[in-house]
């Protein structure tokens, strides 16, 4: 019964209450699997409460070939709390396994136990999670580790991979924490190994990374941090806010090692202010926040635009408006990222679509901020920030250490003009310490000298300058501002997408192609300025254009039809959860049939 599967595509869903260590279990699982060389995509869902209450789900998809999103159906469901897991039993596929607490403490009414909901096509595995934990550690706390040991045993996964991750995870804690958790893991591993397996036991061999490369696993936020590091970030100012907090935390740990500085400010207003200030001095500076923080920063971003000061703002979107759904994903900050703030304050807005993209975009954002002397907003979302993917970082650092058009580029007679007119509309920028480059930056509209001026022709000219200079970003070296996938030439259906949703879009497109529909998809990474020609020529090829987004208003659809006056079909979801491949696929089918008819 234990014959090997040649290729593996198995998705685990660990579900429990926030106090059960659900997320931690998922984290150890994904890290162990990646460590073994599998490709992993993982995403956690947790409530706003700290712990003790609220549903947590950690989904981990483990594959041998590249996958682009999570699956709708999980192959294994692990319940750490039946009351939360029961609604998800239906998510388990046929002959998928459901692993649950076999002897719960509390009396339950009929239907209170998960066995009441497991369908005949699913495989029930009762496990004395609590008892095993208590036997091994004298406490029930390690139930989440127990289920991992059981999984390892059940699916014949190398236990050492887990032990290593466990040891690493509890490194900072007292040694007893590691030993007792390992004890719990080993005890459960034996149980999992010896339990009668109702279906084939083991996973296929992982496909290891190619020579010279080492696949590592990181989250979107992790990749952002890696990008910042490689781009030579100097200073970072942040204020905790879900889901951007981990950028602050990771940089706080990493940056000082390379001479950089991280400060947790008292609020977002202070964070962006300090970032702008540092940018003024010529440093590579950044901050990270979410929608509510971005709203607070809008005014200061205006100063950045007006003063033409480089800065990078990473914005990980969550459900809005206002405090909204702090722990749910959404793509509804496109408007404020592109338009937010007072006046005509265009800035560069970039939106990577996967973890690898987060890395490149982060690095490139600093190049652009510097090269075009502007704030750059990088749009992420909770789903992308927190989801794990296995990526292969480039062998050599792909980012230019500096693209500053400095004082040495200044040509002309007389006194230095900070905002001098030039062909590319970018003026040589002196920073404090440059001999002979002294000037004043102000939020007031100003002349080429930087002196306040409200003359009509000046404001006209300066507004034009601030907008024109950004067009060059559309051809920024070694950066994909947009890209087309799928069938070449004319297609029945084209899909335009941005951000994290593009993973589901790709999987849907592949499925549609498999179903014989001619279609292709384009991801738009640069959202301001908008790559209009590329989009237009793509749309010319498409019978119908579908724009799936995780927002209610269709913010990209508005952007496109507004800018290009082209009609598009919208697919909008604001469930707080990622879009589902099936939803997009259904829409593609509908459009394809409509076209055929």
């Amino acid at each position: 019964m234990a014959e090997q599967r040649e290729s593996t595509d198995i998705q685990f869903a660990v579900i429990g209450s926030a106090g059960d260590g659900t997320i931690a279990a998922g984290d150890i699982l994904k890290r162990a699997m990646a460590g073994l060389g599998y490709k992993v995509i993982a995403f956690d869902i947790y409530p706003a409460e700290i712990r003790g209450f609220g549903k947590c789900i950690s989904r981990v998809r483990v594959t041998t070939e590249q996958a682009y999103s999570l699956k709708r159906h999980s192959d294994v469901l692990v319940s750490l709390d039946d009351s939360y897991a029961i609604p998800h039993v239906g998510e388990v596929c046929d002959f998928g396994a459901v692993i649950y607490e076999a002897s719960p403490i509390a009396r339950q009414p009929e239907g209170g136990h998960i066995t009441a909901h497991i369908r005949p096509t699913q495989l029930p595995y009762g496990l004395n999670q609590r008892e095993i934990s208590e036997r091994a550690t004298n406490a029930a706390r390690s139930r989440n580790i127990v289920v991992l040991g059981y999984l390892a045993g059940l699916y014949d996964i190398d236990p050492q991979a887990f032990r290593d991750v466990i040891a690493d995870k509890f490194r900072s804690k007292a040694a007893i924490v590691t030993t007792s958790n390992t004890a719990a893991f080993d005890a459960a591993y034996e149980v999992g190994k010896t339990v009668f397996k109702l279906d084939q036991g083991s996973l296929g061999e992982p496909v290891h990374a190619r020579e010279g490369e080492t696949a590592t696993m990181m989250t979107g936020n992790g990749a952002i941090v890696r990008g910042c590091m490689d781009a030579g970030l100097d200073t970072f100012f942040g204020y905790p806010i879900t889901p951007a907090t981990t950028i602050l935390e990771r940089l706080a740990a990493e940056l000082p090692k390379h001479g950089g500085r991280v400060l947790q400010t008292e609020d977002e207003i202070s964070a962006i202010s300090a970032t702008i200030g540092a940018g003024y001095t010529g440093a590579r500076a950044a901050t990270a926040t979410s929608g509510p923080g971005l709203a607070l920063m809008a005014e200061m971003l205006g100063l950045g635009v007006m003063g033409e000061i480089p800065s990078v703002v990473f914005v990980s979107q969550r459900g809005g408006p206002s405090t909204g759904l702090p722990t749910k994903t959404e793509q509804s900050d496109l408007n404020i990222a592109v338009f937010g703030g007072a006046g005509d304050a265009q800035r560069i807005v970039l939106a990577p679509t996967n973890v690898d993209g987060c890395y490149r975009t982060a690095g490139k954002a600093f190049e652009m901020a510097e090269k075009y002397q502007t704030p750059v907003v990088v749009l992420l979302d909770l789903y992308l920030s927190n989801r794990y993917e296995t990526v292969v970082p480039p062998a050599k650092n792909p980012f230019a250490p500096s693209m500053n058009k400095g004082l040495d580029a200044w040509r002309g007679e007389g006194a230095y003009q900070r905002y001098q007119k030039t062909d590319d509309h970018v003026s040589p920028r002196a920073v404090p310490g440059d001999e002979g480059g002294m000037h004043t930056v102000t939020g007031l509209e100003h002349s080429e000298f930087g002196k306040p001026s409200d003359l009509p022709e000046n404001h006209m000219a300066m507004s034009a300058k601030r907008h024109e200079k950004l067009k060059a970003a559309l051809t920024h070296p070694d950066f994909t501002i947009c890209k087309r996938f799928g069938d070449e030439g004319p297609v029945d259906v084209g899909i335009l997408g941005w951000g994290s949703t593009f993973g589901e879009i790709l999987e849907a497109m592949f499925a549609a192609q498999a179903a014989g529909i001619r279609c292709s998809a384009m991801k738009v990474v640069m959202l301001s300025p908008l790559p209009e020609q590329q989009i237009v020529s793509f749309m010319d090829d498409c019978g119908a254009v579908l724009v799936p987004e995780l927002n209610y208003e269709g913010q990209l659809a508005n952007l496109i039809s507004g800018a290009l006056g082209r009609p598009v079909t919208r697919l909008n979801r604001v469930t707080g959860a990622p879009m589902q491949v099936e939803e997009i696929l259904a829409e593609i089918r509908r459009l394809a049939q409509a076209k055929a008819a």
Binding site: M1, A106, R107, Q108, E110, T115
Partner: protein
């Protein structure tokens, strides 16, 4: 009170499933729940020997397609062990601490293999045949052409023995009063049947009393059965077949009468108005024999399930057991038993 009546069946064997489908036919609106300790849907225990013919996947021995349960709106509760039944509150308590209410309860929990008390210390060293899981485990412990030492040898065991020999294993049988259970064999005919077993290729050791089972010494087979006279017999696995005893412990506090099994009247009604029983778990009053007795064999068991279900849903018919106890030897010298006809 728009709640549909909840008919609960404890036991996922022939009796339970016979009862379930009968209930569904006769009462389309009722809720029907089958409770089983096992982790598999209904499969035929009589197909288990197939495991030794290489059947590896439980899906191959299922009686019904998996859709059967949804199609007939039968809820199957697997891995669910009942620890207590309370006749007064009409509730069932599971080992996993869930409490379930029933309107009518059919107990079809069947029986488990009996192991004489004097051998109970050696349970851990013996192999079982009571479930698919047990059968697979046993087969995995059995080397190519290995030897099975069979203790007792009831008709379930002898049925397995037929297959084992057929696929090239050796079977050594320690015959005793349980051999041929549930058939009652008169002393004079016994010799003939033993001979027939030998004719089947079974190595019969008669009249030896096993007192211990031990791990085999290095280089010898995995198990050794020791006799009271100090003699012994080696084998790769030791399988006890001493007939069945009813699985009724969980009913001890239910308030229904129990001797060895649940005591029921010919209508399969227990002493609790809302509880019926069918299959190997119940001892039926037989007016003919003036005693409570068991009826074994697939046909009987299935029959009981259906009769009980009909009586639950209103009729009041007695169960008439097919009571053909005769064991005979066919012209080819093979043993023929009604117990084996399924």
């Amino acid at each position: 009170m728009a709640e549909p009546t909840h008919n609960v069946i404890i036991g996922n064997g022939s009796a339970g499933n016979g009862a379930a489908i009968t209930l569904r036919e006769r009462d389309p609106d009722s809720r029907i729940t089958i409770i089983t300790m096992g982790s598999l849907p209904f499969y035929n225990r009589y197909d288990l020997p197939r495991v030794f013919r290489g059947c590896d996947d439980w899906r191959e021995i299922l009686v019904h397609p998996l859709a059967y349960y949804d199609d007939n709106r039968i809820t199957l509760r697997r891995n669910s062990r009942v620890t207590d039944v309370d006749g007064r509150s009409r509730s069932i308590t599971f080992a996993h601490n869930e409490v379930m209410h029933y309107d009518q309860l059919l107990v079809c929990a069947g029986g488990r293999g009996y192991l004489p008390e004097e051998l109970s210390d050696y349970y851990g060293l013996m192999h079982g045949f009571h479930s698919f899981e047990a059968a697979i485990t046993t087969r995995r412990a059995l080397p190519e052409g290995g030897t099975v030492v069979m203790l007792g040898g009831d008709m379930i065991g002898l049925d397995l023995a037929r297959t084992l020999i057929d696929v090239g294993y050796r079977v050594a049988l320690l015959a005793n009063e349980y051999t041929f259970w549930p058939h009652r064999i008169d002393a004079d005919e016994r010799g003939g049947f033993i001979a027939a077993l030998e004719h089947m290729g079974i190595e019969v050791v008669d009249g030896m009393r096993p007192v211990a089972v031990e791990e085999g010494a290095a280089g010898t087979p995995a198990r050794r059965v020791v006799f009271d006279d100090g003699g012994s017999l080696d084998g790769d696995v030791v399988m006890p077949f001493y007939g069945l005893v009813p699985t009724a412990e969980f009913m001890l506090r239910s308030g229904v009468d129990i001797e060895r099994g649940l005591l029921v009247d010919p209508q399969l009604h227990t002493t609790d108005p809302h509880i019926w029983a069918a299959g190997d778990v119940c001892q039926i009053w037989s007016a003919a024999d003036n005693e409570y007795r068991f009826y074994y064999g697939w046909t009987n068991v299935r029959q009981m399930g259906e009769v009980a279900a009909r009586n639950v849903t209103g009729t009041n018919e007695p169960f008439e057991g097919v009571d053909d106890e005769r064991l005979h030897i066919g012209k080819d010298g093979h043993i023929l038993s009604p117990f084996w006809e399924h």
